[in-house]
Amino acid sequence: MKIDMLRLEALADMMEQRDLVEVELADGDSAIMLELAPPRRGRKKLIDDQVEDPGVTVTSSRVGIFLKRVSVGDQVAEGGLLAELRVMDVKYRVTSPASGVVEEIFVEDGMGVEYGQPLLKLDPGSSPTPRQE
């Protein structure tokens, strides 16, 4: 077996930069596995990992029944009605924190939601897309 130390060194460098703890490469009959010692794991600067999610997730501020008032693709204005939450006999409005387009709705209409549960996601920058339903 030919050990290419330079390539192994490069691999180890990359592991450290990318914060990888284990690398396995297989190429036909060849295979390489490198594992980093536990104390070294996860001690890097994690800045690059924190990819900004441009979407705005609206979570529930109450325990209640989710009543959907928009659909995916709808354009909503800041302060516009997104949904209602029925808590016992009282309905509370869920309004939009920003203007944008409804990207995803996580909860089915009429289902119960807990405090802090993600309800839907808005794309604040995007322009309206055709309705998908």
């Binding site: 109450r62 325990v63 209640g64 029944i65 808590v87 016992m88 009282v90 119960g112 939601v113 807990e114 405090y115 802090g116 549960q117």
Partner: protein, 450 residues
């Protein structure tokens, strides 16, 4: 066993939520845990069949949030709500709303809670029912000593009727001091609260706190399961509870038990509850108040009666008739220590922290009720109770020694606890001799500090 509830929502947290889950599981009832967002990793959430987050950390937004709790019960399909102790357990409005929303409240009726919640009205009700209350009377601004001394003998206590916090309060030990003390108290009451009205009651010196466990069904049958002695307390916070009391005779137990039954029956009480009494050194007892819920120290009674009070509470709430009689012969002796996350050397100041290491005592006679585990982060928003350690022995001496042995085995690292207090206090000669009263811990702390 008949089917009771299908699914119970537990409107509480901590060890009592775990206790209720255990009772439900043994009854074949599903459980729903509610929790605030900081309690997401709490043991009651892990143990329950389902869990639901009802709000942020502050109690008023979560565990005291009636709308959120009722809504959670509706969403999760619960048919009954157990309030535990503290939080909403003695809130008559909550009990009422629970029932109005179509759930069963696992506790007494809202009417019973209300009747016992108003302390002045409760006192009157108890007097009418023949339950001894501390002798006393209201005085208006014109009253003088002659009419008082006849009714309330010194030592007596003069309290501002409108007051609190010790303002306008005087202890009178000799008859000849009464007039001057009354005048001083009235003047102080006037300046502090704008009213000369004072209330006179007998001052109970070095009294014990003795409470009677009562159990009742919805059909008018009420029994008692003996007493718990909770005289080891500091500023009305109980630190050690035991059963039986080291000072009760069978005859006194019977009389206090009968009084407790009369007190509960007077307000149409059902499920489980506790009548708290003060017991003076000359063995006279007086009604203090009723706790219309399960109590922290209920396991003490469970150990000496072999009755599961929480299961019984659930069954009685569901309408089962009570199939047992009062128990006046208790089996052995049980002691409970409340292990709180408090530093007793710093005035019992509550402490937060993470449980870094945990070793639980075990073996003969030891019961542990806790919601903590290794790695558990103790939120500072709530009650500081971490664990109840119970020791049962064939007699009081064995129970105390066993508790000392268990406290020696206990390891909780990461947060100071009252176990340090208990290890010392259980060695105190007066505690061992049972010669204490509700003010004893304060005096003991003062003497050990100096």
């Amino acid at each position: 066993m008949m089917p009771t509830f299908r699914r119970v929502l537990i409107a509480n947290r901590g060890e009592i939520a775990v206790r209720i889950i255990r009772a439900c599981r043994e009854l074949g009832i599903e459980t729903v845990a509610v929790h605030s967002d900081v309690d997401a990793d709490s043991l009651h959430v892990k143990l329950a069949d389902e869990s639901i987050c009802i709000g942020p950390a502050p109690s008023r937004d979560s565990y005291l949030n009636i709308a959120a709790i009722l809504s959670a019960a509706k969403i999760t399909g619960a048919d009954a709500i157990h309030p535990g102790y503290g939080f909403l357990a003695e809130n008559d409005r909550f009990a009422e709303l629970v029932e109005q929303s179509g759930f069963c409240f696992i506790g007494p009726s809202a009417t019973s809670i209300r009747a016992m919640g108003n302390k002045v009205a409760a006192r009157k009700r108890m007097e009418e029912a023949g339950v001894p209350v501390v002798p006393g009377l209201y005085l208006n601004g014109q009253s003088t000593s002659s009419d008082v001394i006849a009714k309330v003998k010194p030592p007596l206590l003069i309290k501002a009727a409108a007051g609190g916090g010790g303002r306008g309060m005087r202890v009178v030990r000799a008859e000849e001091d009464f007039d001057s003390s009354l005048l001083a108290a009235q003047n102080e009451a006037q300046s502090a609260f704008g009213s000369r009205e004072v209330y006179i009651e007998r001052y109970l010196e070095r009294a014990r706190h003795i409470e009677i466990q009562v159990v009742a069904d919805r059909f008018g049958k009420t029994i008692h399961l003996g007493e718990r002695d909770c005289s080891t307390q500091r500023r009305h916070q109980k630190l050690v509870e035991e059963a039986p009391s080291p000072v009760l005779t069978p005859e006194l137990r019977h009389r206090m038990g009968e009084a407790a039954i009369a007190a509960a029956a007077a307000v149409g009480y059902y499920t489980v509850g506790t009548i708290e009494f003060m017991l003076t050194q000359d063995m006279e007892f007086y009604f203090l108040e009723m706790n219309t819920r399960i109590q922290v120290e209920h396991p003490v009674t469970e150990l000496v009666t072999n009755v599961d009070l929480v299961k019984l509470q659930i069954l009685l709430a569901a309408g089962e008739p009570l199939a047992m009689e009062s128990m006046e012969e208790l089996n052995g002796h049980a002691i409970e220590c409340r292990i709180n996350s408090e530093d007793y050397t710093k005035n019992f100041a509550p402490q937060g922290g993470t449980v870094k290491a945990l070793h639980l005592p075990g073996g003969p006679g030891i019961r542990i009720d806790t919601h903590i585990y290794e790695g558990y982060r103790i939120p500072t928003n709530y009650d500081s109770l971490l664990m109840k350690i119970l020791a049962k022995g064939s007699n009081r001496r064995e129970a105390i020694i066993r508790m000392q042995r268990a406290l020696g085995e206990l390891v909780i690292e990461g947060v100071p606890t009252t176990a340090s207090f208990h290890r010392k206090f259980l060695d105190d000669e007066n505690f061992i001799n049972g010669a204490i009263d509700t003010g004893y811990v304060e005096r003991w702390l003062g003497s050990t500090r100096s």
